[in-house]
């Protein structure tokens, strides 16, 4: 009896040792997962299965990548793409967040503006490219229009959802205490919607990267998207994958940065409860 009790206590209060954490089932399986992708890739290329013979092996990709990072062109490309994403997505924030707050808060304003936006929403961003080229005569700038369009709708819709999800009692309480509409806006609407705005901003940043790459591939002479397309044409195949990895890392880093910055604004609610994807489509 005493023995069983002790065992149970040990089971509950046993601290996981360092070894048990490192060699846990989860880490082992995760390592297998990641390693097997690279092993499969190497083997498929090595034994020239189907058209894998055309693809570069991971080792080649690594070697080319190491060389590429030291060139000036890489830094210009990366800087160009990042600048476009930042300009486009920031414009989307500046327009999307206030518009979303007003649409979510005031029914009249929503009726007057939202139907129009709903018509524009299903048009995929690359289709805006001819219009962007018309509006912005400098071709390199017109690419920034695509991340703007791409990021605008997730930001806008998440802001609207954020306002709509605020407990009605907060508005009533504020009104009871005699707040002016301006005070309600600054102290109820804006802070209430912040968690949802934060997730909208992160999604917008992620999609913005996609938009910049599309724009650069279709029209553009600089940027990572253009570079991977050029690498295909010039038969520098390893650079395609290096470019993809660079885009992935930069995109991931910028989303993380946005998440980190916005989460600092909402210390009272660390966990963003709203399901991100759900709020886009509603």
């Amino acid at each position: 009896m005493a023995n069983a009790e002790q065992e149970a206590l040990e089971l509950v209060f046993k601290q996981p040792t360092f070894a048990s954490r490192v060699f846990s089932q989860k880490t082992i399986l995760n390592t297998i997962s990641v390693v097997s992708v690279f092993v499969a890739w190497t083997l498929l290329v090595h034994f020239q299965v189907y058209r894998f013979s055309l693809l570069p092996s991971p080792v080649e990709v690594l070697e080319w990548g190491r060389e590429w990072v030291t060139t000036k062109i890489f830094w210009i490309d990366a800087g160009m793409t990042t600048a476009r994403v930042l300009v486009g997505v920031t414009a989307a924030y500046v327009i999307g967040i206030p518009l979303g707050l007003m649409i979510g808060w005031k029914k009249v304003f929503s009726d007057l503006t939202f139907p129009m936006l709903e018509i524009l929403r299903p048009i995929p961003a690359p289709a805006y490219l001819p219009i962007a080229i018309l509006l912005l005569p400098w071709q390199e700038a017109s690419v920034a229009f695509i991340p703007f369009i791409d990021a605008l709708f997730p930001v806008l819709l998440n802001t609207i959802i954020g306002v709509k999800l605020i407990d009605r009692d907060y508005f009533r309480a504020a009104q009871c205490l005699g707040s002016s509409p301006r005070q309600i806006f600054w102290h109820v609407v804006l802070p209430g919607a912040l968690p949802s705005i934060s997730s909208g901003c992160a999604i917008g940043m992620g999609i913005g990267w996609m938009g910049a790459v599309v724009g650069e591939m279709i029209t553009g002479k600089w940027g990572l998207g253009y570079r991977i397309w050029e690498s295909y044409i010039l038969i520098r195949y390893p650079l395609i994958i290096d470019g993809m990895i660079a885009i992935g890392i930069l995109g991931f880093a910028s989303s993380m940065l946005i998440r980190y910055l916005t989460i600092r604004l909402i210390p009272w609610r660390r966990a963003i409860t709203e399901s991100l994807d759900e709020s886009i489509t509603k």
């Binding site: 992708v37 058209r51 995929p124 996609m210 992935g248």
Partner: protein
């Protein structure tokens, strides 16, 4: 309050008014501000409808629909079971999920050069791209839907002695369905973006090509019209998924 019958639905009036304002705003912008003078007026776009080469456009719509739906259905056929497996089994989750997480930050668009390299003809390239774009939203939302099922539901089923198979089919999957269909809607949006981008970059037909072709011959009213048609196609697909989704989540209306 409830007994007062409203004769005028002001909300609807305002919504219609917003359309009118939008078109007026567009006209004024183009007509009176020099910077925008190259953009076609609403009138020009409306008149372009009558000059639309209907057979060509219908053919291009058909081509784009084929590519989108082809990739989308392959995405559902592969993505849904994978999502269920990852969401249901912890071991499979640990085994598969990290490799997906590696690929996720790379936008599907960036795969275009590789797909062009790997697949010989354009149809398979386009279908692979739409498949790839549709795959991740479906997998992630299926997984999320399953992991967020209210724990009380499987517990209740278990206390009634439900077996593993029945649990999956009758409890877990129906409860996860709303989010699965959210994922599908997202996937459809991504698939349309990818198709338009891929078609713009090649000359193998489709609505993206049609937009780019009209841009090349400087026929801007038709560009705007084609954008509208693409938007309409996307909206139709989204509504279609909503209808199918309503059927699969009909239990929600009973609750």
């Amino acid at each position: 309050m409830q007994f007062q019958r409203k004769f005028v639905n002001w909300s609807l009036v305002r919504k219609i008014l917003s359309m009118v304002i939008f078109i007026l705003f567009w006209t004024i912008l183009v007509q009176f501000i020099d910077y925008f003078h190259q953009i076609p007026t609403p009138k020009a776009v409306f008149l372009a409808i009558f000059e639309l080469p209907v057979p060509v456009v219908l053919k291009n719509i058909g081509i784009s629909f084929f590519r989108v739906l082809g990739g989308f259905f392959v995405g559902v056929l592969i993505g849904f079971p994978v999502g269920v497996a990852i969401g249901y089994s912890r071991i499979l989750n640990h085994l598969i999920f990290p490799s997906f997480e590696m690929a996720r930050p790379i936008p599907p668009i960036a795969w275009i050069p590789l797909t062009v390299l790997f697949f010989i003809n354009f149809e398979s390239q386009a279908i692979f791209l739409t498949f790839y774009g549709a795959f991740f939203p479906i997998v992630y939302n299926t997984m999320g839907g399953i992991s967020e099922v209210d724990i009380c539901l499987p517990r209740a089923a278990m206390s009634f002695g439900v077996g593993k198979k029945l649990m999956l089919w009758k409890v877990i999957l129906p409860a996860a369905m709303p989010q699965v269909f959210t994922g599908m809607k997202l996937a459809m949006g991504v698939a349309w973006i990818l198709v338009v981008a891929a078609e713009m970059m090649s000359n193998k037909g489709g609505m993206g090509y049609y937009v780019w072709y009209n841009h090349a011959v400087m026929d801007y009213p038709h560009v705007v019209l084609a954008m509208g048609i693409i938007g309409l196609c996307g909206a139709i697909c989204s509504v279609g998924i909503g209808v199918v989704g309503n059927y699969f989540t009909r239990w929600q209306r009973l609750v």
